[in-house]
């Protein structure tokens, strides 16, 4: 067992326990795997951002001048595919979830450490396929791969791209499998379901969605490959098949997938609000069950992507009303976070700035989602920039802000060092401003009628696109800042201490960075989560004195 080497209480932690590249590439420590994932995922984020920059640059002028039409089509497709499958879906679960799930429940590792490592390799295999697609000139079907365009008419690298999605799906299945089993079977003594941090609840709900949804994407992409490669025919009207069946299968996964993206961010949100208001999350059980409700109901609304597809109007009606229902648990969460602030003791550190941004932007994104779920409106704005704006509000304004908030919150735990407080706050504010400048104009231009996936557009839409591109520039700058100061903190950052925020939760009871097996003595839990008002949350078998002392000093 390679990881058992040195975990002596004092100096050694998971980062220093072993040295050399091999000790990283063969590690079975969930924390190291999280770091590996952090590196991979950041790479793909930059790649996806690069394509976004191309897209926005092209759209500065109405004429298609910077890129050719084909290059533009590849650019937004690669942007969407990379951002969704290689960044947003794995980002929070595979990085923060991987690091924190075992620590938060007081376990030594995930249930299947080898499968965890395998998942990272599978992810990178998918990444390699993705890079291969790029080398072959990219793919131009849109991230939705709609048939029969993808199966018959596109002459780009559809098959490798579909295989990349297929393989990436397996890596998230492996992660989810690990989470479900770990959360069910490996909680510390005393850690009952209703004492779990909400981060765990939301990762549990996410994992269920991944397990139930991803296989359907896998078979759909496989069928697409067979269709394109061997003329399977089930999506091809020329052979008696129906292209709309593909849409059903695709969205059966891909709508729940949007909750795969947002639920972990909601989990982070609960942790941040509680920690920086020093108060138990308002209505804990309701917030916990809301995650499950979203996960389950989220499976029954996929047809809202198909209102104009020739889907039966009756099916559309059912999907529409269910869409309305699934919005309610999200609304409840927003209200409960707001109520948590009431009578709190609020401080405005960087993670909290992101959390506050999340509340605002997710609310706008969610409300425009409900508008899209209203069929009379969707008929007009479907496949326009209104939809583009909606999903960037939830995915960037929601998930990425949540991810960044979480990263800033747990960074000192993961690496033991604190980043620059001034620059990190500036970055949060720049991101917020740049984001709104990029995507607010898209709502307007969308309602005006500008369709998405347009390489050139009528001149009267230009002003809004200029604003949007300007915003994207600001946003890009804001996102580049953390890259700099977070990396610098690894070298020069002040030592963070075990609990820099004075937060509650098992992860703050252990050292920063944690030892290889997370706790020197297995913890025993005797209290609820977020017991800020009471004296102590946790009776660790071995109590870390230093950590307790720092509890209230930042």
């Amino acid at each position: 067992m390679s990881t058992t080497a040195g975990h002596a209480a004092g100096g050694s932690n998971y980062l220093t326990a072993e040295h050399g590249l091999k000790s990283w590439l063969l590690t079975k420590d969930h924390k190291r795997i999280a770091v590996l994932y952090l590196i991979s995922v950041s790479f793909f984020f930059m790649l996806g951002g690069l394509f976004a920059s191309l897209v926005r640059a092209e759209l500065l002028t109405p004429a298609g001048d910077l890129l050719s039409a084909d290059s533009y089509n590849r650019a937004f497709t690669m942007h969407g595919v990379i951002m969704v499958f290689f960044f947003l879906i794995p980002a929070i679960p595979a990085v923060l979830g991987n690091f924190l799930v075992p620590v938060m429940i007081g376990a030594k590792d995930l249930a299947f450490p080898r499968i965890n490592l395998l998942s990272w390799y599978v992810y990178n295999l998918a990444g390699l396929l993705g890079v291969w697609v790029l080398l072959q000139g990219g793919v131009d079907t849109g991230w939705t791969f709609y048939t029969p365009y993808s199966s018959v008419y596109s002459n780009t690298a559809v098959i490798p791209a579909a295989m990349a999605g297929f393989v990436a799906g397996f890596s998230s299945i492996l992660t989810a499998l690990n989470f479900v089993v770990t959360i069910h079977r490996m909680r510390a003594p005393g850690l009952t379901w209703f004492r779990l941090p909400l981060f765990i609840w939301s990762h549990y709900a996410t994992s269920l969605i991944i397990l139930l949804g991803t296989p359907v994407l896998a078979i759909t992409l496989l069928a697409l490959v067979l269709e394109r490669g061997f003329g399977l025919g089930i999506f091809d009207p020329a052979m008696g098949g129906d292209p709309v069946l593909f849409q059903h299968l695709f969205w059966f996964y891909s709508h729940p997938a949007v909750y795969i993206m947002i639920l972990p961010a909601m989990g982070i949100q609960s942790e941040l609000v509680a920690a920086f208001a020093r108060k138990r999350v308002f209505g804990y059980p309701v917030v916990a069950f809301a995650s499950l409700a979203i996960a389950i109901l989220g499976f029954l609304v996929w047809g809202h992507h198909m209102f104009t597809s020739s889907q039966s109007v009756y099916a559309s009606t059912v999907f529409s009303v269910l869409t309305m229902l699934v919005a309610v648990p999200s609304a409840v969460k927003v209200f409960n976070w707001t109520a948590t602030l009431h009578e709190g003791s609020i401080s405005y550190e960087t993670p909290m700035l992101y959390a506050l941004g999340f509340i605002g932007l997710f609310t706008i994104g969610g409300l425009t989602g409900v508008m899209l779920g209203t069929m009379g409106i969707d008929l007009h704005v479907h496949d326009t920039y209104f939809v583009v704006a909606h999903f960037h509000y939830v995915m960037v304004g929601g998930t990425i802000l949540g991810y960044l908030g979480g990263l800033h919150y747990w960074w000192p735990k993961m690496f033991g060092r604190m980043y620059n407080q001034f620059w990190s706050r500036i970055a949060a504010i720049v991101v917020f401003i740049g984001f709104n400048l990029t995507f607010l104009p898209q709502f307007v231009v969308g309602y005006l009628g500008m369709p998405r996936r347009y390489w050139s557009y009528p001149a009267e839409f230009q002003i809004w696109n200029v604003l949007s591109t300007a915003g994207a520039t600001v946003l890009g700058l804001g996102l580049a800042l953390p890259l700099v100061y977070l990396l610098m903190s690894l070298k020069n950052g002040a030592l963070a201490g075990n609990n820099p925020w004075g937060a509650k939760g098992l992860e703050w009871e252990t050292t920063s960075p944690p030892p290889t097996f997370n706790f020197d003595t297995p913890p025993v839990v005797t209290e609820e989560a977020y017991a800020y008002a009471d004296s102590h949350l946790v009776e660790a078998g071995h109590s870390d004195k230093k950590g307790k002392k720092e509890l209230h000093g930042v």
Binding site: V216, H248, F299, W302, Q311, S312, V318
Partner: protein, 99 residues
């Protein structure tokens, strides 16, 4: 360690039941019962599958969690089938186009 060990006899009995049901399903297929054919065939297949799940796969003596997982998988399969089929079966009900 509380592993429930089924007697060999149980397994053999389940096997025989599965054989009988296999013969039954082929036998029924000889008759044209209209739509009923589908229900009978699927009913028999479901029965066979349940036998395998409950006994060969030990769910009968398994934990509550395994039972829930197995049922959950079945339920989600129904979700997957229900909505698309409902879509296809109700298309065009607004009346022939042009009315």
């Amino acid at each position: 360690m509380s592993v429930h060990v089924e007697p060999v006899k149980t397994y053999v009995m389940v096997f025989s039941a599965l054989m009988v049901l296999t013969v039954a399903t082929v036998f029924v297929a000889y008759f044209d019962l209209g739509l009923l054919n589908n229900f009978v065939a699927m009913g028999i297949a479901l029965t066979k599958a349940s036998l395998v799940v409950l006994i060969f796969m030990h769910v009968r003596h398994g934990s509550k969690l395994t039972k829930m997982i197995a049922l959950g998988g079945f339920l989600w399969l129904i979700f997957l089938f229900l909505f698309p089929l409902a879509d296809y079966d109700t298309r065009g009900l607004l009346g022939p186009l042009g009315k």
